[in-house]
Symmetry: C2
Subunit: 511 residues, 2 copies
């Protein structure tokens, strides 16, 4: 249904949470990257306590908690639909330490195990302070989701990958793969919203949006943030926005929360900041992920961290039979355990192999017939012939396959410790090579780099100082997700949790 047309006066009246039309303060012309007055704007068009840019999981979680904190809240969304990339996702929340759902299904977990897994299985030097708060408050955070109407089904799935059945709990990362199974007690931590006929992300966002509405959060679609208004003392007090073609100024008395996603669809920005992700074939996020929030924050002097990092996957499973095959680089060398979380393999290919890799299988570990996601490179009745046809260095692939087979037949994998159930020799012709390269197979990607924030979701400038009045969450920030991405649910989990921190602290920021 088309958005109904409303006139400017009606629109403003519907959005202002206190008297609008007030003159911009003398200082607000000190806008960082833009002089507000030079764009013909002299007055605040809209005034609210807390302004949230973006209506995904981060933005709506911020809005809910800011509203609960007593603030008037306005959420602006660039697109014509609320929900952000979160609504397109699986909606998985990575939660643990003994959530109500884990307990109800008989699993024990600890904050320590969860912390250890997140802190040590991703990239070097993650944000430990954020991981700690996230793990310590995870049980309460799951209760918050339930309180906001997100439905979970008391059913566990032991399948690999996001359950397509009715289960709401599963192992969403590599917790059961070596070395994690030995280093920290595995527990299923992927919490999936469930309701018959609904996909997780849609279901999550429907609940959160309904909760926000009930609390009195105002939302407005087709409003795009453009520049922040920065006072001469560094405080952020407002945002210049484009409302259906008109530039307007919104004042936020308590704070602005930037929560409008990553930048995978801003291709120039991806090429400049995250060159490895640029070659991945499928940018995978809501069309609004244009980096606008990150730009506005950087324009106000914020630091932006880990801008090269992102999510990159070209799954080799499902189906599970393919896990018995092996992934190799151009030299025929095996890369990692094929049973690990998709994005761990994806990270190795994207960042550590210049985007180039191959999948080697026999008849039993072959891909499903008719699946054309991964192009067939070569097919042969011997590994030697396969190696030659596919152009691997002479003897290299034979060496890797022989080594793998020799140990697989004993149920062993000395290099990568793949679980016994996935180990069987690659010895039943025909043998095949599929292309796993990021620009050849269907390779999905989005970005993880973003604004530097502290555990309260305050935005930090390049000197390490708090930018007063400015908050950010989700993929506008550098948060829990790293390359490699270690489990489904870390990103949306981070969005909801740190969105809430932003909302709570912005609401309390009465200066």
């Amino acid at each position: 249904m088309p958005e109904k047309t409303i006139d400017r006066r009606t629109l403003l009246a519907s959005l202002a949470t206190s008297a609008a039309g007030v003159a911009l303060s003398q200082h607000s012309s000190a806008g960082t990257r833009v002089a507000a007055d030079s764009h013909g704007i002299k007055n605040w068009d809209i005034i609210t306590d807390v302004l949230v840019a973006g209506s995904g999981a981060a933005g709506i979680s911020a809005a809910i908690d800011a509203r609960r904190g007593g603030a008037d809240v306005l959420v602006v969304e660039k697109l014509n639909k609320l929900g952000g990339s979160s609504a397109l996702s699986g909606g998985v929340i990575y939660a643990g330490g003994g959530t109500a759902l884990q307990k109800a299904l008989g699993f024990t977990d600890s904050v320590e195990s969860m912390y250890h897994y997140i802190a040590h299985s991703g990239r070097k030097h993650p944000h430990l302070d954020k991981i700690q708060r996230y793990c310590e408050q995870s049980v309460a955070h799951f209760d918050w989701l339930v309180d906001n109407g997100v439905p979970y089904n008391k059913l566990f799935s032991d399948g690999k990958g996001l359950g397509f059945d009715e289960a709401s709990l599963y192992y969403s990362g590599s917790e059961e793969a070596w070395p994690w199974r030995d280093e920290c007690r595995p527990a299923p931590r992927g919490h999936v919203p469930w309701e018959k006929g609904h996909q997780g992300g849609k279901r999550l966002m429907r609940s959160l949006l309904a909760s926000a509405k009930k609390l009195g959060v105002k939302t407005q679609k087709r409003v795009s943030g453009e520049r922040l208004v920065v006072e001469s003392d560094g405080r952020v007090t407002g945002m210049l926005v484009d409302i259906r073609g008109e530039r307007m100024a919104i004042k936020a008395k308590r704070g602005i929360v930037l929560a409008c996603g990553g930048f995978i669809h801003n291709r120039e920005m991806v090429k400049l900041y995250a060159p490895e992700l640029y070659d991945c074939s499928v940018p995978w996020a809501n069309a609004g992920d244009l980096g606008i929030g990150i730009q506005m924050g950087m324009g106000a002097g914020a630091g932006a961290l880990r801008m090269d990092q992102g999510f990159a996957i070209g799954p080799i499973y499902p189906p599970e039979n393919t896990i018995a095959g092996i992934a190799v680089n151009q030299m025929g060398q095996r890369l990692t355990s094929e049973e690990g979380y998709h994005a761990v393999m994806g990270n190795v290919v994207t960042y550590k192999q210049d985007g180039i890799a191959y999948f080697i299988c026999d008849k039993d570990s072959d891909r499903p017939q008719g699946d054309d996601n991964q192009p067939l490179v070569a097919k042969a009745n011997t590994i030697k012939e396969l190696e030659q046809k596919a152009g691997f260095p002479v003897g290299s692939l034979q060496m890797s396959v022989n080594y793998y087979n020799e140990h697989a037949k004993n149920g062993e994998d000395p290099m990568f410790h793949k679980s016994k159930k996935y180990l069987s020799p690659i010895d039943k012709p025909p043998f095949k090579v599929y292309d796993l390269s990021v620009d050849k197979t269907m390779y999905s990607s989005h970005t993880f780099g973003g604004l530097h924030t502290n555990v309260d979701s305050q935005v930090i400038n390049v000197w390490g100082e708090v930018i007063n009045g400015l908050y950010a969450a989700g993929r506008n920030t550098s948060g829990l997700p790293t390359s490699p991405y270690i489990a489904s649910g870390i990103s949306v989990g981070d969005c909801t949790f740190f969105g809430r921190q932003a909302g709570q602290h912005a609401a309390a920021n009465k200066s």
Copy 2:
């Protein structure tokens, strides 16, 4: 000799290039990250046409060309010595396309070969526009160096690594290694300043500093940049500095050039922005590489690109006999050609192997006695025993060494095409494993990430717009150097060349 004490009045008189003491313009309180007036500063203490922060190769090259462009130029240096990290370097300039020195020594080269090598041997999606201008103007740039008194000796060295002899021309990268030797015609492009008893970097900077002085460039040590002054229309017009403990304001009528190096000594910044480099054992740059210029630029809204990238090396040669050994990862898999440029191997270890690698050798390819740079992990009389002692997966190292030996004895290397002269089987006991890991061996590192600039060295903000009045060069910017760093001389070459662009354009910026 201690810096002599001078009073404030004398200092200011010596630095101001036109009337100082002028009131800060009304707009300058619109400083991005700082309100100039809030720090008690109401007046410009010093006024110049072009202000350059940093006295290394980038800053002094900028100063020379700005002065030649008719501007009054003031260079400020944080430390008590001029020359920056460039003076600590080998002083190599990567130049080609048929420089006077190449021609004099009988080498032919082309802009196309040089462009191809730089554009394709480094990381994905380099800044092609910069590479193009650099290569097209390389012959003239070399002449400029000579004109400024940098001495070169008409002697070529075919040794690996920076020549310690009297030669001024050598192969400073992997031009002769596969696949580059086949893809683009190799030519020696490492141009080393030479004078008896002088190290290259010192010699380079002594010449450039002398040339700058002769032209009338003013320099002042122990002056540290702190914040930029940004007008409400976005123009950068000044810099707040710390001069021996006092904060002062310097106005630059035509432009400011940020050229004060990378950020390897700002450890918090390295951990946040370049986590892989954080673990390298030896931060290798002048003590002033604290990221101050990058911070000032970002504080004014500039984009900062490739902040994770850097230079990382733990050389396995010289001596050349060690090149016959092999470098492997934790799985015993070989990594790359051992004859490639140090930093290519360093990049693989640092960024693609989580910082962990090992060097495998026999009696003939062993490290020199008494060299304790790389810790000995294990020693044995058979590869099987060595593998066991060092803890490689069972059979893995034997597999790699057998494969390598089998082909090496025929003078072949099917995986990495190491040159025949470096190929000999690893079969003479005792066999050894040395630790090549970034935190175990002497691993040098510095940063390559920095401000986004265009080919004229104008600083670009996060929206892709030019920040008027602001220029940057060298390791304050994201320029030609990438991870992997592909040849000695790319960084100092980039500093001098794009420093000049900055100086020329700033001098011409009379608004």
